[in-house]
Structure formats: structure tokens, C-alpha cells
Subunit: 375 residues, 5 copies
């Protein structure tokens, strides 16, 4: 019966899950403290076999869509007047990042940050480009938690370069719009493209929230119906997921806010309006997270109160049983004694009388408990 329930945490992978939970909170240290900044070292797990590069180079007329070009093909895009979007999946080939960075003129710290995962969401404005770090969240159904991946985005005058930790992303919609002629994205500059990518990331948060919200709903139903012990484990798990997600998204509010107010010329006023929109969405995600936290906190209270209540119920049953029968057993014990001289034992009406007394005592206790509201 218990097996039919949907569990938030897939059982088979519990041990694994436990070992990785805090790992997702604390950034693993790879670089030796005191080593030079701007040295591009890949930190974090290597999540893909092979780095994959894709680029889309377009203006409103032309489109060049290359699936797995070499890095050299990309370097030339710098000088084309068209909008180029280079996407790199996988960060462990630091040499590639360095070559791209040097060709496009990025600060060494930018290159370092691209390669070291676990960065906080931020925006850094430089004279000729803007560097944005965003967490890309997805629900890992197999392990039952939220995976966070680091998206680095560099926006230059005529290019956008994005770096992801693994294959598969939320940008398919954007790619389709680029591939269709006549869409707004084809007509506008790279700043609009950057916006579109950020918007896709933030929009995806809502899907993650929806999944978490569904789990919350299901757990709430269980807490209300039949509070079992594992529910507390699942509530703890859920709460931790919310902590993890909140920690990833929290800096976004500020990041997108300063992007909106920033004075860089790379963003047109038109695009800034769109950035305001995506900022609103991020704030809404955070509001929802806060509300979910409150709801989960309330569910923990509810669970604990139901445990207390049940202990109370159990105690009542015990107390009622014991209080009725212990005195009766004592009475029976008295007349089971073997004294030579117990005159009651020889009276013929003694036994029925005692039985009567017992009934009265029992009835009295029952009445007492009923008056107390325990029965």
C-alpha cells in the first residue's frame, strides 16, 4: 500500500542524494587560495564528454547556422557586422575559453569566472561588453531535486557568447525564432538576443516552481490525510530544495535591477523595456518562493501538531483502559488472598455484591472520562 504513493525522493537513490545535497550549497574549492586571479581553471564537475560549439550568425536577411564548428570558425565572427550567437556547451576545455576571450578582448577575470562554476548571479559592465552570470535551473526527476547550471553570457557590440555546463538547454524557442525570417529577433541587435536568452532562462524558473508546487500540493494532501514519519523527511527535502533555489535566484533581483538601470550603451532603450519585464518576472519568482517557504513551514507545524495530537489520543486510550481495569484487578486480587479468616468469603451474597461493586466502579470511571470529554 505504501508503495503506491508518489514519493518526492526516489528511494533507490537516497544514499547518493544525501551525499550530494550540501555539495550543491557549498562551492567546491579547486583553485589554491593565493593563486593568481584571472587564471582560467575549470572548477566543478565535468558534466559533458566533449565540448560542443554551435553558432548562429544572422541579420534580417541572412542566417548561418552551424552545428559543430571548430573554435577557429567562431573567432572570425568577431569582424562580421551581423549578429553572432556562439554557444559553448561544456567548460572543461579552458584553452578554448581563453582563445575566445582573447579574440573578443575580455578581461581575465571574466574568463576565470566563466570556467569556475558556482558563481553568484551577477552583471559586470566593461567598456566594450557586458558579462552576465545566471543560474539555469532544471528539475532532475531521477534524483528528485533541482539542478543548477551556470550560464555565462557575454554581450558585445555585434555578438552574444553563451557558455553552459552541459548539453540541453531552454533556448530551443529562441533558436526557432531566429531561424524563422521576419521575426522581431532577426530585426534587432544582439542586446535583444541577450534579453531573449535571459527571458527564456527566467521563464523556465516558472516550470521548476510548478514542479515544486505540485510536490508541495501532494505532500500537503498527505499531511492532512495521514501524517507518516517519512513525510517529515520529504518536507525537509522540499525545504532544502527551496533554500537551494532561493539562494540561486535571490541575487537575480539585484542583477536584473542593475542591468535595467545600467548606463551601458550596449542596451537600447527599447530593449531596456523588455529587461524591466524580465525583472518583474524574477521578482515574481522570488515572491512565490517566499510564499512556498511559508506554506512548507506551515506544513511542518501541521505535521508536528498532528504527531502531538496522536500521542495525546494514544495516551487517552491507555489511561482509560488502565484506570478502569487496574482498580478492578485489585479488588479481585483482594478476594484471591488465602487468609484463614476472611468472613466475606463465606457469605453467599458476597460474590454477586462484589461484581456489582465492580460494575459501579467501572461505570463511574467511564462517566468520569466522558465528563472530561475523553470518551
Amino acid at each position: 500500500m505504501a508503495k503506491k504513493r508518489t514519493h518526492l525522493i526516489p528511494h533507490a537513490i537516497n544514499p547518493l542524494r544525501r551525499m550530494r545535497v550540501v555539495g550543491r550549497l557549498v562551492r567546491r574549492v579547486v583553485k589554491k587560495p593565493g593563486s593568481s586571479p584571472g587564471i582560467v581553471v575549470h572548477t566543478g564537475e565535468r558534466k559533458v564528454e566533449k565540448v560542443r560549439i554551435r553558432f548562429l550568425d544572422f541579420d534580417d536577411q541572412h542566417l548561418n547556422d552551424a552545428e559543430r564548428p571548430t573554435i577557429d570558425e567562431c573567432l572570425d565572427l568577431r569582424d562580421l557586422p551581423t549578429v553572432s550567437w556562439i554557444n559553448v556547451d561544456g567548460l572543461h576545455e579552458v584553452d578554448l575559453i581563453r582563445r575566445l576571450g582573447e579574440r573578443f578582448g575580455w578581461h581575465p577575470l571574466v574568463m576565470e569566472d566563466i570556467a569556475s562554476t558556482g558563481q553568484r548571479a551577477k552583471i559586470e559592465e566593461y567598456a566594450e561588453y557586458v558579462y552576465v552570470v545566471l543560474p539555469m535551473l532544471s528539475w532532475n526527476a531521477e534524483r528528485g531535486h533541482v539542478d543548477a547550471e551556470q550560464l555565462s553570457l557575454v554581450l558585445g557590440e555585434n555578438y552574444v557568447v553563451t557558455f553552459q555546463e552541459r548539453y540541453g538547454d531552454v533556448f530551443e524557442g529562441v533558436r526557432e525564432r531566429i531561424r524563422s525570417t521576419g521575426t522581431r529577433i532577426r530585426a534587432r541587435g544582439p542586446d535583444y538576443l541577450a534579453y531573449a536568452l535571459i527571458d527564456a532562462v527566467v521563464d523556465h524558473y516558472f516550470q521548476v516552481l510548478e514542479t515544486i508546487g505540485d510536490h508541495t500540493e501532494r505532500l500537503e494532501e498527505q499531511v492532512l490525510d495521514e501524517p507518516r514519519e517519512e513525510i517529515m523527511h520529504e518536507l525537509h527535502h522540499l525545504k532544502r530544495e527551496l533554500i537551494t533555489v532561493r539562494r540561486s535566484i535571490w541575487p537575480l533581483r539585484e542583477t536584473l535591477g542593475s542591468l535595467q538601470r545600467s548606463e551601458t550603451k550596449l542596451f537600447t532603450d527599447q530593449t531596456r523595456l523588455f529587461i524591466r519585464d524580465v525583472h518583474d518576472h524574477a521578482v515574481q519568482v522570488l515572491d512565490t518562493l517566499e510564499a512556498l517557504r511559508d506554506v512548507v513551514g506551515g506544513m511542518i507545524d501541521l505535521y508536528l501538531s498532528s504527531v502531538s495530537f496522536r500521542t495525546n489520543e494514544i495516551m487517552k486510550v491507555l489511561t482509560i483502559m488502565a484506570s478502569i481495569f487496574i482498580p478492578l484487578t485489585f479488588l479481585a486480587g483482594v478476594y484471591g488472598m488465602n487468609f484463614d479468616d476472611m468472613p466475606e468469603l463465606h457469605l453467599s451474597w458476597a460474590y454477586p455484591t462484589l461484581v456489582g461493586v465492580m460494575i459501579v466502579v467501572a461505570a463511574g470511571m467511564v462517566l468520569y472520562f466522558r465528563r472530561k470529554g475523553w470518551l
Copy 2:
């Protein structure tokens, strides 16, 4: 007896309620992430059968009040010098929104936001119009929770357009004032009309709060009188309603604050005074919500403490009964043994003496418990 109590949660619809609770916190995702912004897609439930349009076109002399005009009639209002208020109930005919938006010159993002429900309260200023999103709350007595509906309001130089999710609103009072000649609303511009509508929405919050406050009162009475288990469920439910309402209204403080400070020329200084007033009301609603949250939190503490206290009481009864009778039963057991050689059994004064000892033991226990304050 239990049936006579008024329950916050109507029982018959419990399962339904549970399935929808978090749904009201988390915005359902309809749009594919990465799809183009400014594409007008209706998200959220379709709450009306048919979109209904009403308009009121007036100045201090004339009034044109049309119940169900076609959209085309509305489009012409743009060019009239009079104040026009177009109200649309139902958001699923996105084409209608688009046509209105294009005629009145709205930004695509505005049109998208009108159609997608679950927006955060906000104000967006554009050169020629101001876009305001407000939650419109109402108490759904049938389901026992607060329903939130999205009100979009666009204020232009000579018009106000409002979009609601369903029929029925809180604007009847405003309409009546428009219909009476000589009222202030007839004499002033569309900014005053916009204010009047916002004011009606915020004023209605007080009615919702009053309903919630009544439920809180009733629950408090029950917690103080007879704390049953279901009360914890109802307190949880109440707390969640407060979370939901707070989440809807919270952004209003900031929204109305920035409306008051905004530099748009669409609001006259006179109307700004009124906006300050409605801002004060919104802040007051939030203050009250916070206070209610604190009160409900205190009620949860009270409930939990009363459960602990009752467990304590139950334990006392059990302990007293057991501690008095268990030793006596033991004594009776001893003289029920069948050893050949138990000299006490053959003494004639042994039985009365034992009974005396039993009474002394029992009285001693009772005294002990009385000294401990348990009796």
C-alpha cells in the same frame, strides 16, 4: 453537535480545495520558455463563457453608456475628446486585446501582460499611457478561500481601459457616480476615473479582510474553548489564505508609492492627492494582514500548548491511578500465594491489618500527589 459549528472550510469541497491551493500560489506555465515576448497568449483559467465589453463615454454634459458594444465601436472612442472607459470582462479572446492595443498604441509587452494572468501588481509608465496591474480579491464563500483576479488598467490621455478575468466587479459604485450628473467624477479627467477604480479595488480589500477577521475570531473562540484536531487544519488553511493575500497585495505598497511619485503628466496634482490617500489605505491593509498573521501564529502556539497541556493532564490521571493501585495489587498478590508455610495467613488479625496497611498506602500516595499539586 459537531455539525452545528461553522467551519471555515466547507467539507463537501475539501478534495477540490486541496488540489487548487498551491495552484493559486504558483503561476501555471502556458507559454513555452524562449517563445517571443509580446506574443499575446492567454494564460490562466478561462473564467467566462464569452467576452463582454461595456463602455462609458462621458464629459460633464453628456453620457454614453453601452452595455455590449462590439469591439469596433470602442476603437473609435480613441479620437473623441470625452473621457471613455472601456471595460472588458474575459481575457481569452486575445485578438480583441491585440486590436484594442494596436488602435491605442500600446507596447506589445503590455498586451502580453494583459492576457497572461498571475502578474505581480505593478505600474509601467510609457510616454503616452500608464499601465497598472492590480489584484482584485474576493472571498469565495463556497470554496472557503480568497479568489484573486487580475485587473489591468491602461490610462491614456482621454481614456481608461480595464480588463477583468470574469463578470462581476467592485465598480458598480463608480458607474453609479458616473451616471449621476454633477458628480465630481463627471467633471474631472480620466486620471480621476483611474483613481476611482483603483480606490474601489483597494476599498474592497477591507471587506475581504473583514471576512478573514471574522473567521479568525471564530477560530480563536474555538481554540480557547475546545481545541479539537481539525482546528489546526483550519488554522493552517487560514494562514495560507493570509500568505496568498499578502503575496498579492504586498507589491501594491510599492506600486502605488511609485504612482504617487511618478512624473507622468497623465496625473494632475489634484489627483495625486487622492492617490496618496489610496496608498495609505493599501499600507493599512498590509499592516492589518501582518497583525492577523501574528494573531494566527499566536493561535497556533496556543493550540499546541493546549495539546501539550492535555497530554500532561491525561498522564497525571494515569500515573495517579497506577501508582495507587499497583502496589496494593502487589500486596494482595502476595497473600494469594499458595505456599504451605505462610504463617501470616493463619493469624486472625492479619486480614484486617493488611486492609489497614492498604488504606494507609493508598492514603499516603494520595497525600503525596496532593503535595505535588497533581490532585
Copy 3:
């Protein structure tokens, strides 16, 4: 014995109290949402039979002190160069408010706010006058809670008009100072009078705090000495009073702060120094409230912990009694069996030996519990 204790909540009026508690948090709605702003409607209970008007008109030479003038007498004060203080007790004669307001040139919203009680403390500056709303708190000993009354104060160039909900106020001291010739208040303008009134209101908060502080002290003593169940009810009640008071006073910090910084010419620099002083007092009241909240929170923890602790103590007694006697009773039971063939029964040393064994078992249990620290 229990009757001799001083209770925070007078028992006789409990039902009444419960019905009104949340009522003091949530403003009752009288006006229909959507009705015209600036329409002067009296909201809230009518707390006096008859509206009473008093005025004091004075400069450093003359004094005119009228107990119950008609409203018409007051209207003429407008044009006198002397300082006039008109005080109105009772808000239900809205016509009176309107006539005063129109004569003195107040904005319709001001008139509306004067008549509708339950306003948040605020200050509104207009070109020719300043409108201040303050809560006037008093301890209602009969009902055992804090009553809040709305004080509206309008300060003009040569007048102060105050509106209260009922007779009786904290202004007697101010009146006495006005009646004595040569006091500072006689020599200064209406702004100083306004300050003196606000100061009297804020000073009175300290008396309310003192009463609440005394109750807190008494409850704390009880929690430490003999935690009974009703204490939790009283702590809850106390906490709610603190919530109510805090909610009333909280906006004052900001209100008096902005009064101090305001650029209105109605306040002289000299008076502003006094306003700074009263602002300090308000902040101090809030600090004390926060500290009291923390103390009450700590008392709730203390109470709960003492309930847990006592449950623990009760359990110990039960466990000790049961653990000592249940095994002994079993032993006695064994030798009470009626098997034909129980050789022990026929040994003459068997009974004394068994008694010895019983003593050893009991002593062993006692030792065990003593080692555990339970005895």
C-alpha cells in the same frame, strides 16, 4: 484560592471580549467600495450620545473658554488673529464636520478621514494647513484591553481643530497651562499648541505601557511559580494587545519623523525642536514594545518548557512505580498458581526466600533509577 489571583482578563466579560478582539484589528467597512471619496461618512461605533464642542481662544493677554458653544460660534474664530483651539468630541454629526471643513477650507479627503475612524497615523501637508491623525490609547480596565481612539488634528495659521471619538481625553494638562496666564503656551502660536497636544498623546502611551508592563510582570511571576493552563490564555491575550498597540503606534515613527523634516511654514524652527523631542519619545515607546514582545515570547517558551518538564516528571513517577511493582506482582502471581505439582510451595524456606528475592529486585530497580538520576 484561585479566586484571589489577579487576572488580566476579567472573567465576567470574556464572551464579549472575544467577539471584539479581531474587530479592533480589522477596520469595519461602512462605505460601499466605489462610492465617492471625500463623501463624509462616519464609520466606526458611535461612542458618545451627543457631540460636544469646546473652544479655547487666546493670546498672551486674553482667554475665551467656552464649554458647549454651537458650531456657529466656532466658525467665526477663523477670522480672529488669536490662537483658537476647537475641540469636537464625537464624530457622528458629519454635517458639523462638513460645515467646519468648508469654513476653514479643508480638502474633502480630510473631512472624510476625520469622520472615518480606524485611520493609520499619518500627516498630510496642504498649502494652508496640516492634517495629523494619531491614535489615542487608553487602558480599558473593565474589559482588560487597550482602547484606541482616533485623534484628528488640523493645524492652520491661527487655529487648531481636534476631533475625538468620545468624551474624556489626555489634554487636561494642556488646558490648565492655557488657562494660566504667562505660560509659554500662551505666548506662542498654534504650532506650539499642536505640539503640546501631540506630546500629551505620546506621553500617555507611557502610562499604557506601564499598565501592560505591570501585567507582564505579574504573569512572569506566575509562569515562574506555578504555570497553570490559563496563563497561556493570558499570555496570548497579552501578546495580542501588544500586536494591537504596536500596529497603532508603528506608523507614528514615520509620521513624526516626516513632520520634523516637513517644509511647511506652519511650524517654526523653535517648535520643530520640540517635535524632535516627541519623535524621540515615540521611538522609545516602540523600542519598549519590541522588548516587551520579546519578553512575552520568552515567557511562552518558558511556559511550554515547564509543561514538557512536568510531563517528564509525571512519567518518571509512573515508570518508577510500574517498574518496581509489576515484576513483583508477577512473582506473586506465579506462586498463586494452582498447579498440583509446584514443589517450591511445600518447602518451608520458600516463602521467606521469595520475599527476600522480591526485596532484592525492588532494591535493584531503585538503585537503577537512582543511577539514572530519576530518584
Copy 4:
């Protein structure tokens, strides 16, 4: 044994302590609300028998150190070009304060604040002098709590006047430095003297914190080793002391911050650097207080969890004993029945068999509990 423990709260004075605890939070009201501001009334306990005046008048060459001058001697210091520090212990001779104040030209509100204790820490800048209120904390070992005394300091062009509530202070170090020729304090102006006094007050907070920290340590040790019920009382007491101290010191952060930024010419730039230093110290005190609060909160959790845990342990013992012996007692009871026709009674192997069964049942229960991890 229990007597050897050091208790935070000296037992003998418990009743007294309880009556005064909240008294330290809530300022007692002496002045009638509505009475004139600037009327110098001494509020608070009178803590000294006789007001004592000391002054130090010095420049880098000369020093005039008078132990108990009359007030008239002090009034002349005003006109000397040297730096004068007048210190007054005891506030109940309000006439003295008034005479000083009038001679030095202070605002009536300053005089009122000097005389009424329980002020919030603050700084008030006037054209010719600066008025600073600071709490002076000390650990009252006898009563087991923190005493707060109000220090008022007025800094003028060539003087510093300080007012304390009682004899004994933390300024001996400063006096010694003044008495030694050639120290920096002799060479600098009154602003440096004011700084030195404030610094001495703030430095003393660290000593109070150290005492509280020691108590915290000792209590923590007890919570970890042997959680007794009184510990919860002591934790509550400790928490309240932290609340009281925090409430006193909290406004200092802001006060010293604004002193640092203030534009008064009474402070030289050189002295401002020192003020920054003392501001840092105040912030550090607050940080430590917050950390201590968190630690004490954690100790309360720890205590409560240990009570729960012990209840759990006690229940286990009871359950094990009862579960093993109750069934056995039942079996013994069965064969103690007196039915004529119980064939088992007459079988010779019945008794040994039953004993065997009993051993098996008991062993089974023991095994079961061991498997559950309860044994």
C-alpha cells in the same frame, strides 16, 4: 551538591528581582501627560543621598581639581578659556540643573531630558553646544542583572558637563590622564575630552558583555551535562538581560554614526577620527549581542530537545517493563483461577512447561525491543 553550582540569579533576592525586571524595560511615568515640556522634573529612582559635584579645569599648563565645590563655583567656569569638565552625580536637585542650564544657555528640553532618566541614547545638536545621552551599563552582581544608568553629556565651546544618576563611574582612567601633565587629553580641546568619556563608556560595555558571556558559558556547560528545570529559568533570565542590554545600546549605533557625520564645528576633524573608532566598537558590541542571542536561543532549543529526549527514554523503560511482565502476569493469573475443571493443573509437566513458555515470551519481547533499538 546542587548548592555548589554557581547560579546566575542569586536565590535570596528572587522576589525582589521579579518585581523589578519589567520595571527596567518600561520607563515609569512621573510627569502628568499634557504638562509643560521643558519643565525639569526628576523621574526615576533617586539613587544617591546627596548630589555631588566635581570639576576639573585644565589646559596643558594648569589644572584645577575640585572635589565637592558648590554649584556657584562651577557657574564661573563658563567664562574661563580653559577646558572645564563639571561632573554631577545625582539628578534629584533639579534646581541645580536649571541653574547650570541657564548659565550655560541650554534649551529647556535639554534640561528636562537630563533630569528624566530612561531616555533613549541620542545626540542633539544645537548651535552652541551638543547634547549626548548614553546608557552607562554595569553588572549588578548582587541582584544578578545589568544596571543601566543614564549619562548626559553637554559639550560646549570650552566645557563638558556630565550628569550621572549615582556615584561611581568608569571615568577614573580619564581623570588620571587629565591629572598627568603632558598627556594628549591635556593638550586638546573639550571635544577630545567628550570623546574620551564616550569611549570609556563604550569600552565598559565589553566588560559587561564578558560577564554575560561567562554566564552563558557556564549555563551552556550545564545544559550539555545535566539539564535541570531551573536552567530554563536562568536561560529566560539571561535572554531578558540580553534584551534589556540590546535595547539600551541599539540606538547608540545610529547616535554615534550621526555624531561622526554631524556638521557641528565643536568637533575637530582629528577628534572625528576617534569618534569613528568608538562607533566601530559600539557596532562590535551589538554584533556580539546578536551572536549571544543566537547562542542562547540555541541553548533553549537544546534544553527543550533534551527534555523531549529524556521523556522518550523514560517511556522506553516503562514500555519495556510493562510489555515484558504484563503478559506473564496474565499467564500466572490464568493458572491461579479456581475452576474445578482445569485439567492442565493436574499434569505434572504443566508447571515447568509454563515456566518455559514464560521465559520464551520474555525473551521474545526482549529480542523485539532489541531489534527496535530500544535496548
Copy 5:
């Protein structure tokens, strides 16, 4: 078995640990309050035997690396145009600090702060130099807690002087980079060196966090698997470490933020970019700390709930056992009575019937408990 677990707190040193815990929160007082500021007194433990001085003097061409120079050698570095980094391990030779300070022209307060440990992280800008205080954290595996050491750094036009409390630091990486010709650090000024040192300190925080994170993980596993009592002690310990670390690092956010915005000319714009990077890292450390606090808080809840739940389970077993056997024992007791006249005893079917009744009663109880879901 229990011995195989890894404990956060090494057992052997428990007593020692307890005595020092709060000591790390509260700064010990050495200086007498009221003593002169700017008097350089070493506060805090003396952590090294002998003060050790090292300097590195370099430009892109030359390098002078001296292991244990005398202080006199260092004083001459002031006038060289090269970048000099003087590092002092050990603060108890205050004379040395004073000589350095006077030679380099530091404010007396700076010298005092260098010598007194337990300072809050801060930055102080003077005209010719910048003084930075940072906590240097390390995990003390032996004692099982985080050690904090104070790093003072003074950056002048051509020098950096650092002071540490003990030997051993996190700067080896920086030294290696200086020793290699052609690195960026050799080519840039002292501001870059200062940045590199700060960066090394902040980077090391991540290693401390990782250790704490690992402990958290291990504890979480234990809480989920087998919640023993000591876990609560370890959770308390962990929470306190987080409080301690947070208290040390918290001011860094502000410190590095103001360093970034500061207008001192000692930092080039290029270096400011790096400071922004290290600021981001510090914020990330704080975010992670907050998340860890939340997780640990959740674990405490989880532990408490599991204790409640187990109490509940234990109660169930007891109640089931008692409720089944107590009534049966009573029945057996009844027929063990010795009344002469108990007709049932003489019926031949009475005994089997009673056994049947007993079975029915027992089965009834079992069914009842199963229906309640307790079995």
C-alpha cells in the same frame, strides 16, 4: 559501533572546548576603560613564541626576499621606489608595531587596532594610506572548531605591511607568484598586491565552508538514519560555529563594498575591478552561510520531530500491550477469588468458555487498534 562514527567534536577535548566557545564570541577586555586611545596594548592570547618578520621587496626586475630581518632593515624600505611587502607574525612586541607605525606615519589609532585582536572587519582611509582589518579563518581539526585570526593590512604608496597573530598563513601562493619573474603581480603596484592578499584570505573561506559543509552532510545523514541524542549537541555546536563565522565575515560585505567605492588614489581603476570580484566572493560566502544556517535549522526541526515521532511509537506499543492484557488479567483475577459461592467455578464448560471470551476480547482489541492504524 558508536565509536566508529566520525564526530564533529573530538571527545577528548570537550571540557576545553566548552570553556572557550563563548570566549571566541566575546572580546576579552585587557585595556582599562578610560585609558588613553592610541596606546598600543596587545590584547588577546599570545599565539607565537617570537615575533617573526619577513619582507619581499620587488619590482618587475628585482626581488629581495628576506626571511627574518630585524625591524631596522624594514624601516629603510619606506624610501625605496620598489614595492615592499613586510609581514609580521605575532603582535605582542608592541614596540615593534610602534616603531613601524611611526616610521610609516600611521595614526595612533591604527597602531592600537593592529595590536588589539578581535577587531571587526573594517577599512579606514587616511590621506596617505589605507588600513584594512580582515578575519583569517581556519578549521582547527583538533578542537573541532573554526579559529579566527586577525589580519591587519596597511597599504601605502609603495608598501604593504601585514600583521598576523601566528605563523602559517594562506599567502604562500602569493609569495610564489612574486618569486616568479614575469607574473602580473610583479608588474603592478602595491594595490594589486593588497588585492592579491585579500583575495587569498577570502578564497580560503571557501575551504572552511567546505569543511563545515561536509560536517553538515554527515550530520544530516545521521539525523535521517538514526537520530541519537548526541546529534543535537553536534547540531548545536555546528550552529554556533556558523554564528561565529557569520559574525566574523558579515562586516566584510560592507568593508569590501566601501573599498570598491572608496575614492582613495591608492587603488587604480584596474585593481578596483579585481576588488569587485573579491567582493562578489565575500557575498557568495555569506549567501552560503545563510543557506547552511537554514539547513541546520531544518535539521534541528527534523531531529525534534523524529524524537516526538518515536515517543509516539513507543506509546503505541505500550498502549497496545496494556490494553490487551490488563482486561484479561482482570478476568483471570476474578476467577482466582476464593468466595465459597461462585457457581461458575463448578461448571465444567466454564473454563473453556472463559478462555474463549479472553480470545475474543484480545482479538477485539487487536482489531480496534488495527482500525485505528496503530498496528
